[in-house]
């Protein structure tokens, strides 16, 4: 219990960007274990609050199937539909797009079942993200002249999960936390890397953002490749 309380206290101080918190985590005998406890506890709290918020949001949302049927009925009454509807291909294509979009909307809509599943998925996702980002940030920090080891790096980067606690505000339906969590987490990660690896501000900044840039570069490359393949298919050559 002391371990959980201690981890949460450390997480709170890390959230307030207090450098002592990162130093304390670095000096801990088991920074990885302490970090893992923090991540799992934060993940569970966020998912539980999210479950309540999702149930309220679901209960506040009108029946999507009824909305779909109402909109469709009136669409077919509109003047442009009567003109375009004379072409059977139009009706067929419209039906396909219409059904696809609505099935997407119903899939993405909040349901208590999906929120309950998050109790399992949120902590796992946080741990996986922490490990991947932690290893990449460690490699970049060492490359930039950092002196910390991997367990210390993972320990302080676990503190960067602390802003995820803000997702507990999803308890109130329709609240959009938006990019706040990501921005705050990046600032926490910067302080953590700067403290553990004893880097200057600019090198710590590079070590913090380079893992993200690597992922963005990979995504842009994939996008370019995808659009090139699409263009070849469209041109037929």
């Amino acid at each position: 219990m002391d371990g959980i309380v201690g981890s949460l206290r450390l997480g709170w101080n890390a959230l307030l960007l207090k450098e002592d918190a990162y130093e304390e985590m670095r000096a801990d005998a088991n920074p990885v274990v302490k970090g893992l406890i923090l991540i799992v506890v934060v993940g569970l709290i966020v998912a539980l609050f999210g479950l309540v918020g999702n149930i309220l949001e679901w209960a506040s949302t009108p029946d999507l199937n009824e909305i779909r049927d109402t909109v469709f009925y009136y669409l077919t009454q509109m003047p442009w539909w009567k003109m375009a509807g004379q072409d059977p291909n139009f009706i067929k294509n419209f039906d396909q797009i219409w059904n696809f979009n609505w099935s997407l909307a119903t899939t993405l809509a909040p349901t208590p079942g999906k929120a309950a599943l998050d109790i399992l998925l949120v902590p796992i996702a946080l741990v996986v993200r922490w490990l991947i980002y932690g290893v990449l940030a460690y490699l970049f920090a060492r490359w930039l002249g950092g002196t910390g080891d991997l367990s210390e790096t993972l320990g302080v980067l676990a503190l960067a999960v602390a802003p995820q606690a803000l997702n507990a505000l999803n308890l109130i339906p329709f609240v959009e936390v938006g990019n706040l969590v990501s921005i705050w987490a990046i600032l926490c990660a910067y302080l953590g890397l700067k403290t553990v690896h004893k880097l200057r501000w600019n090198r710590a900044m590079y070590a913090t953002v380079l893992p993200f840039l690597l992922v963005i570069a990979a995504a842009v490359l994939a996008g370019c490749l995808g659009s090139a393949i699409f263009a070849i298919l469209v041109k037929g050559g």
């Binding site: 309220l56 506040s60 339906p173 959009e176 936390v177 938006g178 706040l180 600032l187 302080l191």
Partner: protein
């Protein structure tokens, strides 16, 4: 409390002593967060009230019809709106859209309209405050990078805590709905916020006024250039492909 309000007032009138007093108080980042939340919520009170009334009352069909007619009148400046066929189709559309909105408004959620409307309005109101915190952290971090490049220095928490004072003149946004002068007061509040931001940057980083101003606008300029370059690259890429 009185001394805190006094310090805050001094910062608004750009008195150095006010900034020092604010920085010397404990837990600067927590205070900054609370300040932003309180100011954002107060500045958003009017829109919260309007939003709440909008969401708990059923839509007025006459208003929708009036809105569509107003759009038709406004669109008379475009050549297509002179076409009698377009005008006839627009009238037919109005005849369909008005009952559609009425029927959609009658689709029930499991909770009563009053509660769902309140939760919706509350969610939007709180989201604005959270967005304000996100914007403050994001832009603040970029300004600190610029300040460092210009020779200044500050600890992250101390810097963010000091520049958070920029939100106070934003309270003038509360007067935005005042007829005639409301928009002017809101504009004055925005400009005043920028001035407080520059002053706070100067105090926190040790830069002079000119460099602090440069540090504050550099991220904005960088985004502008980046946006233009990226847009040009995307257009170029698709021009090459298609």
């Amino acid at each position: 409390m009185a001394s805190l309000l006094n310090s805050l007032w001094k910062t608004v009138i750009l008195d150095d002593a006010g900034y020092q007093e604010w920085r010397e108080r404990p837990n600067i980042l927590l205070r900054a967060i609370l300040l932003i939340i309180v100011v954002s919520l107060v500045a958003g009170l009017v829109s919260f009230a309007v939003n709440l009334v909008d969401r708990v009352t059923p839509p007025q069909l006459a208003d929708i019809e009036e809105g569509m007619n107003a759009w038709m009148e406004w669109s008379q400046y475009f050549p297509f709106s002179q076409d009698p066929e377009f005008q006839r189709q627009w009238r037919d559309m109005t005849d369909v859209i008005v009952p559609m909105v009425r029927d959609l408004a009658n689709v029930q959620a499991p909770l009563p309209r009053g509660i769902t409307g309140f939760l919706n309005a509350l969610g939007s109101w709180l989201s604005r405050a959270l967005a304000a915190i996100g914007g403050w952290l994001f832009y603040g971090a970029l300004v600190l990078i610029a300040a460092n490049l210009l020779g200044g220095s500050a600890k992250l928490a101390d810097f963010l805590g000091t520049v958070a004072l920029y939100v106070i003149p934003g309270l003038l946004l509360l007067l935005k709905p005042v007829p005639c002068v409301g928009w002017l007061l809101a504009l004055a509040g925005t400009i005043w916020s920028i001035v407080v931001y520059v002053k706070a940057t100067s105090v926190a980083t040790g830069l002079d006024g000119g460099k602090a101003f440069l540090a504050v606008i550099l991220p904005f300029l960088a985004f502008l250039v980046l946006g233009l370059v990226l847009s040009a690259l995307v257009v170029l890429w698709f021009a090459i492909l298609f």
